[in-house]
Point group: C2
């Protein structure tokens, strides 16, 4: 009972040097066919398996990537993580997980622990309120590359992959216009968010293409709480022009807005039509699914981010160029439309 088989053990039994065994196991060219066979045979017989922790230690590499995100139970992130895990595994990397619960201090702590665990790299979607990025910048001193995805910090010299909401919004509004809607409201998110600005741009662009006038009062922002959304709805429904369609910031907002509309005795898809941004699963099971949704490709974002990170890990020290991929969001019609 002396624990798992080690190289030393094999060496002893075969009267060889540890180094010889090590090389034989690695199919090193300078090892005699004869001994190599012997070694590998015995290794199999004794169920030899290299002690990864020793290798990690010695090689200063763990084949592990850390992933930090706000909340696993949000459908968007669980899809993203799925993409990450699949890609990482394909390249024989493991994935270490941590959720910030949208709390900056927790985020810092997790990053710290992951650094200590010597992850080779980090994939992160930052917490809602993270304003200080020092915990990420300090990683540079440790040569731990970071690729951000979806929720990216407002920094220039970073790697990231995100999804541009403008294209999807453009398509969404265009669709509504095609269908004859002329007074289209938008419940947007906080104005400082890049994603909000992109939505606004897309909206404007759609009008421009048709040479229609842009009415800024049709875009109201919500703090994304239920109350905020209801306030926004109140404002939109009170607009002097009759709003017949609404682009909601996301599926959650959409649901709250729909509820409000129902309370006002509006008939969905008749008096008023909703378009949203997909982040709820199973929209087919929803009471009033949005007429159409802007897809944000969480799985693909995770995939891409991982690929970039792996590339960074393969080509170390390439601190010069920053990878930033922006996927275009895309409008998807609800099933049966």
């Amino acid at each position: 009972m002396k624990g798992p088989t080690t190289i030393k053990e094999i060496a002893k039994r075969l009267n060889l040097a540890k180094s010889t065994v090590s090389r034989a196991l690695h199919d090193h060219p300078s090892i005699g066919l004869r001994t190599r066979m012997q070694v590998q045979a015995l290794a199999k017989e004794l169920h030899y398996e290299p002690n990864q922790t020793a290798i990690f230690f010695q090689q200063k590499k763990t084949f592990t990537i850390g992933i930090v995100l706000p909340e696993l139970s949000e459908a968007f992130f669980s899809a993203a993580i799925s993409g990450i895990e699949d890609t990482a595994n394909k390249h024989n990397y493991m994935v270490l997980l941590g959720q910030s619960h949208d709390d900056e201090s927790r985020e810092k702590k997790i990053v710290e622990i992951m650094k200590n665990h010597r992850v080779d790299g980090l994939l992160v979607s930052i917490a809602k309120n993270t304003a200080d990025y020092s915990h990420f910048e300090m990683l540079k001193h440790y040569d731990i590359p970071v690729v951000f995805f979806d929720r990216i910090p407002n920094l220039t010299d970073i790697h990231y992959v995100a999804c541009n909401m403008q294209s999807g919004t453009l398509q969404a509004v265009s669709l509504l216009l095609e269908q004859g809607h002329r007074v289209i409201g938008m419940i947007n998110g906080p104005e400082k968010l890049i994603a909000s600005q992109q939505r606004t741009s897309g909206y404007q662009q759609a009008l421009q293409k048709r040479r229609l006038k842009f009415d800024a009062s049709l875009i109201v922002s919500s703090d994304l709480t239920k109350e905020g959304t209801r306030a926004a709805m109140r404002q939109l429904l009170a607009h002097k022009r009759k709003v017949t369609a609404i682009v909601a910031f996301n599926d959650y907002v959409s649901q709250d807005a729909v509820q409000y509309a129902l309370e006002q005795h509006l008939e969905i898809n008749k008096d008023i039509t909703f378009v949203s941004y997909a982040n709820l699963p199973l929209s087919s099971y929803m009471a009033y699914p949005p007429f159409a949704s802007v897809e944000q490709y969480p799985y693909q974002q995770g995939q891409k981010a991982t690929e970039i990170l792996l590339e960074l890990l393969a080509a170390p020290g390439k601190t010069d160029t920053f990878h930033n991929i922006t996927l275009d969001s895309r409008l998807v019609l609800a099933p049966g439309r």
Copy 2:
């Protein structure tokens, strides 16, 4: 440029032995206050941080637990993993992730890799078709404890936490009886599943309590595909007695069943009432949410399983007793009921 600070470095600068420094850093009692201060001061100054990989290696412990489950994007599992991660983190453990995608060979591979990464323990919910458990049993030889949760293998000597569906079913059927329903159908899952048997028991028990006669033809099983469910519905609706309520195997089945009922021009909650088992999020957003749902506590299952595992890790070699916790499922009324 000589990499991160090490203990050796500190020792040299202070003319101390490495061991002294190590002890000082750990607040070992037998170290002079004086030197301890010195050491800790210099450590801070040089930004000393222990190299965890070295420690892992040396201590044969990684403070990492592996978690293997079928599919992250299933709401049930993402909730469970949330509970796992939270609990693990609280105890300074990290979590290594792997999804089997319900594929046995992938499951085996993941377990293998995790073993190589020297995780301290494993938390697993097995793949749908896993029939051979050798990859789990071999872990015993490596002293890697495993705690199963939710989807547990049909083995005796294992640790697990699962949720007993009987209690919830009992409550569900009782509720329906209280409300005057007398002909209650049940769409059950494959009969060999423990969970299916538990549902049947709960159903029968509810009738017994009220001294009502059990009619086996009111329980039909579905293979859980949409078609299977529709067939089951067809059968139930054709029953000689008029079925006024149905207990569906889960939310997915429930949705398919509701759809079928609608096609037959039945009015939900009037002509026919549905009760289900919660595994969809946001049931409040569903078109026809079940009247009531049996809660399976994914977060708590994850939490409990983790606690057991941590306990196992704390008390090594306790291979005698097997922990198996069974939570009771519980009926929860739909919001607004």
